[in-house]
């Protein structure tokens, strides 16, 4: 296996700052080569729809958690970044997965919002607290959220977290550093990654990079880009040397979940008008019949063939 370096944690003792200052640039440049951080915002005319994305190459991750430290700092969270799972106050996490068929060997798996191209959470939210920006991030407007947690039920990747321990909680999930993108910076985690395991760029370009890596090193990668089609495609893309299911990635089909509800929601106006019209017709029909019956009764009582009848 060509991934022997990744078998052990190589830099748990290095401080995050040292990583940022020191090896980050060199290692990233060395491993991922051509990928420069593109000019932001002012550059709408690049490939695809021009939206941004991330490429996480799990074969490059050494488990240093620089991304988590950077995320906590950039977003003002103070919890322990070494926690293995995302939480109400931690938007990204690095999980150590022991390989099923290979005891002693582990992979480090980053988890955070995948930023779907057609996000189920945004489609589900009744008040529009979640939406996908044209730049790529799925962002959250805390001021709108009523706390119904339908976004959590809708998400195919089980990503949104809730601040269960507070009396007035909010939904918590990665927003791909949307405010930093607006300032023309790249997301904090990508900037902090010392190995280039997390790289930031235009999604279309990242797909090309990922395809090239798989083509250049077919012995090294499983031939699959996770996120290319999952749930209709996500802004975050993953490469791995181990089948994704073994690393705990959700098995998600290629249909965007919002399509399922959209098909029904489109019928709502038709059903509403149709039912109202049907009921009105039924009522009118019954009303006419009752009037007829009453008129007939009245005639029979009066014994005359025609007369004034009530309610006609």
């Amino acid at each position: 296996m060509p991934t022997e370096v990744r078998g052990a944690r190589t830099c748990p003792l290095l401080s995050r700052r040292a990583l940022l200052a020191g090896g980050a640039g060199a290692v990233a440049a060395g491993l991922s080569g051509s990928l420069a951080v593109p000019a932001l915002a002012s550059d709408p005319a690049t490939g695809g729809d021009g939206s941004f994305g991330m490429l996480v190459d799990l074969t490059e991750c050494v488990g240093c958690r620089s991304c988590v430290y950077a995320c906590q700092e950039a977003n003002g969270w103070t919890g322990d970044p070494e926690r293995p799972a995302i939480d109400g106050d931690q938007w990204t996490a690095v999980r150590e997965v022991e390989l099923p068929g290979d005891p002693g060997h582990v992979r480090y798996v980053r988890t955070q919002c995948f930023h779907c191209l057609d996000p189920a959470c945004a489609s589900a939210c009744p008040v529009g607290a979640l939406h996908k920006t044209p730049e790529g991030p799925v962002v959250y407007d805390a001021g709108r959220c009523i706390g119904c947690r339908y976004c959590m039920v809708a998400c195919p990747f089980h990503i949104p977290r809730y601040q269960w321990e507070t009396p007035l909680p909010l939904v918590a999930k990665c927003i791909m550093c949307a405010p930093r993108l607006e300032r023309g910076e790249s997301p904090a985690c990508a900037e902090a990654c010392p190995t280039g395991a997390t790289t930031f760029g235009r999604r279309s370009e990242l797909i090309a990079v990922a395809r090239k890596r798989i083509a250049d090193h077919p012995d090294r990668y499983v031939p699959r880009i996770y996120g290319l089609t999952e749930a209709g495609g996500t802004s975050w893309l993953y490469l791995s040397d181990v089948p994704f299911e073994e690393l705990g990635f959700a098995s998600v089909g290629s249909t965007p979940p919002p399509q399922k509800t959209q098909a029904v929601m489109e019928k709502v106006p038709v059903v509403a008008v149709g039912v109202a019209a049907l009921m009105a017709v039924v009522r009118w029909w019954e009303g006419a019949r009752e009037s007829r019956d009453e008129a007939r009764d009245a005639r029979e009582r009066a014994g005359t063939p025609s007369g004034k009848e009530p309610g006609a």
Binding site: D87, A120, S123, A124, C125, P126, V127, G128, R144, C145, I146, G147, C148, R149, Y150, M152, V153, A154, P156, H158, P160, R161, Y162, W164, E165, T166, P167, L168, P169, L170, A231, A250, S251, V252, G253, T255, P257, P258, K260, T261, Q262, V264, M265, V268, V271, A272, V275, A276, M279, A280, V282, R283, E286, G287, R289, E290, P310, G311
Partner: protein
């Protein structure tokens, strides 16, 4: 005209508290105790937050309150729109004596659903947000609007009872004049709302067990809700005759039972057809919580009551009717619980059992609903022979009289 058969007219001041409590009876005392302690539990939930008081967590964002209080509660309230439409739109005036209790059940049911929802929402004070913050792609948005509009409609449909009880007959007549359009609006809301609770789950396409996940969810939810609503009215008619000494014509209840059997049969046909066409069904699985729950839900909660009610001799037995209606109601509640909880178990990767507080709050809400029904039944003209006659039907006005408004 005016409901003079009131209970305790002004005499209450002369009686001691103990006497009043005795008069209330053990059943009502227990309901009050449950409602009041549950009220404290609700305050505790709001102060401490969801994490400290419920067993909800990130793997189980929805739990008992959504499954039982909201999904189940709405389904059981479906009787209101069915009977209202049957009487006021389809001209089946024979069923009019059942209309007021059914509408009251629906109205209280929706208020109970809102109470449960307020407990479940992380920020309940923002429940009004969907009124101004529109997101029409969201099924939850549609659900929110249907709840708001239909609760208003139910309040309107119920208002003649209150207005008559208060002696405001002029207002009562004005309400009656607008009744037909309101009933139509109520039917539209109900059709949309009952089905949209099923549509709500369609987005969980990668999370739900295929025994419950189906493109037919909206249709299945609607049909089963109509069956459950008809079941609830039968249970109520039984309670009315026992507790309030109000005799409902057995012939009418039989009619409800027949309607319920048809709806259950339709539901069974749809459910089985859906399973077969998708290559699913409990019989394709080894024994597990999922397969047993789905099997019981359909066999005991739908097939058995449909079978019992399809035979005329059984349908004519009050006891058999009661059992069948009870089974259908429980079966539909089980379906909602299965859809929201059991079907998401595998995806959650962890177990969920509601906390004592979650159940307690539900108990309190149900107790408050029963007490509300009881209060109205004893103080306002709920059981009348020919309520809400349509404008122009003078003969109906004559025969409106309260029946058996004494408490047992």
């Amino acid at each position: 005209m005016k409901a003079e058969a009131r209970w305790i007219p002004g005499r209450s001041r002369e009686r001691s508290t103990t006497e009043k409590l005795v008069e209330l009876g053990w059943g009502r005392l227990a309901l009050w105790a449950l409602a009041l302690t549950g009220g404290l539990a609700m305050v505790y939930r709001l102060v401490r937050g969801l994490g400290a008081t419920t067993h909800l967590n990130d793997a189980w964002p929805w739990g008992w309150w959504i499954a039982f209080d909201v999904m189940g509660g709405v389904a059981l309230a479906a009787g209101a729109f069915v009977v209202a439409a049957w009487v006021h739109l389809f001209g089946k005036h024979r069923y009019a004596p059942l209309a007021r209790p059914a509408v009251l059940t629906g109205f209280l049911g929706y208020l109970m659903v809102i109470a449960g929802l307020l407990m479940d929402l992380g920020r309940p004070y923002r429940i009004w947000h969907p009124i101004v913050m529109w997101q029409p792609h969201s099924v939850m948005f549609e659900v929110a609007w249907c709840v708001m509009v239909y609760t208003t409609v139910l309040a309107f449909e119920f208002s003649p009872v209150a207005l008559e009880g208060l002696g405001w007959h002029r207002a009562c007549r004005a309400v009656r004049r607008a009744l037909v359009p309101m009933v139509i609006l109520g039917v539209v809301c109900s059709v949309l709302h009952q089905s949209s609770l099923g549509s709500l789950l369609l987005i969980a396409t990668y999370r739900m067990d295929p025994l419950w996940y189906s493109p037919l969810l909206p249709v299945l939810f609607f049909v089963s809700a109509v069956a459950a609503g008809l079941g609830m009215i039968q249970l109520e008619a039984a309670a009315a005759s026992r507790v309030y000494r109000h005799r409902v014509e057995p012939e009418l209840v039989e009619g409800l039972a027949r309607g319920m059997a048809w709806m259950l049969a339709l539901y069974l046909a749809l459910r089985l057809g859906d399973w077969v066409s998708r290559g699913q069904g409990p019989w394709t699985r080894p024994v597990s919580l999922e397969s047993v729950a789905a099997g019981l839900e359909v066999l005991v909660g739908a097939a058995l009551p449909a079978l019992v009610m399809s035979r005329k001799s059984w349908r004519q037995s009050a006891r058999a009717r009661l059992v069948a209606a009870g089974l259908a109601v429980v079966g539909v509640i089980a379906n909602r619980i299965d859809s929201v909880l059991v079907s998401m178990r595998a995806g959650a990767g962890a177990a969920y059992v509601p906390s004592l507080l979650e159940l307690w709050v539900t108990g309190a809400i149900v107790a408050a609903g029963v007490l509300g029904y009881d209060w109205v039944a004893r103080h306002w003209p709920l059981f009348v022979e020919e309520p809400e006659a349509l404008p122009g039907e003078a003969r109906a006005q004559e025969s409106r009289r309260p029946v058996g408004v004494t408490a047992s």
